[in-house]
């Protein structure tokens, strides 16, 4: 593949990232930056958390639990469990790079860059791209989202008090709202059913097993949706 094609796929990824995901990440991380400052953390730790953990529920768990003084092991376990979703998300993304040696070489870096925004863009656009265009496209989307995360954290940490509260809180609301519509646009029946069941089950399970909500919801709702779709397929 020529360098020109690589370059072009990279910039298509950047443009796709700028269309919506960049702004979603920016809004969410403004909220996180403000929260990290209120918890007494330094800006370096806040940025390091956004770029290193790179998964908001895990970041929020870390900051909240550090602020109440829980033992380190409890903080790490809670933060890790809140981000357990990266396991199935990575499983779904990685096979899309099959046949590309460079992607295989960078597989752990690609997994580290993955976020919910990047996942939703790449699972939608990736299959429509030629195998060799997928890696530069992925880098384009990821780099723009990581930049948004970094800028958002800095704005939230340094300037959240300068913004009116209703704007800050609405920016935080933007990302979950966006994903409701992303999931409502799922193309396949099993994904739509899984998303619908997961959306109903998540808040219910949170009342019973708050720390295990994400994995238990995924396993239960995902498995039911998978077998239900198979069963419907056999009936018709």
């Amino acid at each position: 593949m020529s360098k020109e094609n690589n370059f072009s796929a990279f910039w298509i990824g950047v443009a796709e990232g700028l269309s919506m995901p960049f702004w979603m990440v920016l809004g969410s991380m403004i909220g996180f930056g403000s929260m990290a400052r209120d918890a007494g953390l330094s800006i370096e730790i806040a940025i390091g958390s956004s770029l290193g953990i790179w998964g908001l529920p895990g970041q929020v768990a870390m900051v909240e639990l550090m602020a109440v003084g829980l033992p380190v092991l409890s903080i790490v376990i809670a933060s890790s469990l809140a981000n357990m979703r990266f396991m199935p998300m990575t499983v779904v993304v990685m096979p899309l790079f099959k046949g590309n040696w460079s992607a295989y070489k960078y597989r752990y870096l690609l997994a580290q860059m993955l976020s919910i925004n990047i996942w939703s863009v790449f699972t939608r656009c990736g299959p429509q791209l030629a195998i060799e265009d997928r890696l530069p496209f992925y880098f384009g989307v990821s780099i723009i989202c990581l930049t948004g995360g970094c800028i958002g954290t800095i704005i939230g940490f340094t300037a959240a008090d300068l913004l009116p509260f209703y704007l800050t809180v609405s920016l935080i609301f933007l990302n979950p709202a966006y994903f409701v519509f992303v999931f409502s646009s799922a193309q396949t029946q099993n994904c739509l059913i899984a998303a619908g069941l997961g959306a109903c089950l998540g808040p219910l399970l949170y009342q019973v097993v708050p720390e295990w909500t994400v994995p238990v919801t995924g396993m239960l709702a995902g498995t039911v949706a998978f077998y239900f779709t198979k069963w419907v397929g056999k009936q018709s």
Binding site: G52, S80, Y166, A177, F183, A194, G222
Partner: protein
Amino acid sequence: MGGKAILTNVEPSIVLTLCIAGTFMWRALGVAVANHIDISSDLFEWFNCVAYAMLAGLISRIILIPSGTLETTLLFDRVVAMAIGLVVFVIFKRNIFWGTFTAFLIFLSLTALR
């Protein structure tokens, strides 16, 4: 919003490093499993369903039972904004931008009016 001191007596950079490792563990496990999965297999389809269900469960929990700053807003405002956004989303032939933009605007207006 006044600043409160962190109570954990361990160096924050150490906690952060451990939390990064704790999340990376799931990513690395995903890479390891993905190496043995065929994209057209039932197992891949199952993982896709689990990923969708996990993310949808997490997002609906954040909207209905949020923590942090969003917790200070009214459930009514969040639900009304999402409901109107969904109507616009359907009217505009499942357009993600218009659905999200409407929900954002409604939520912004409702919280600004409080």
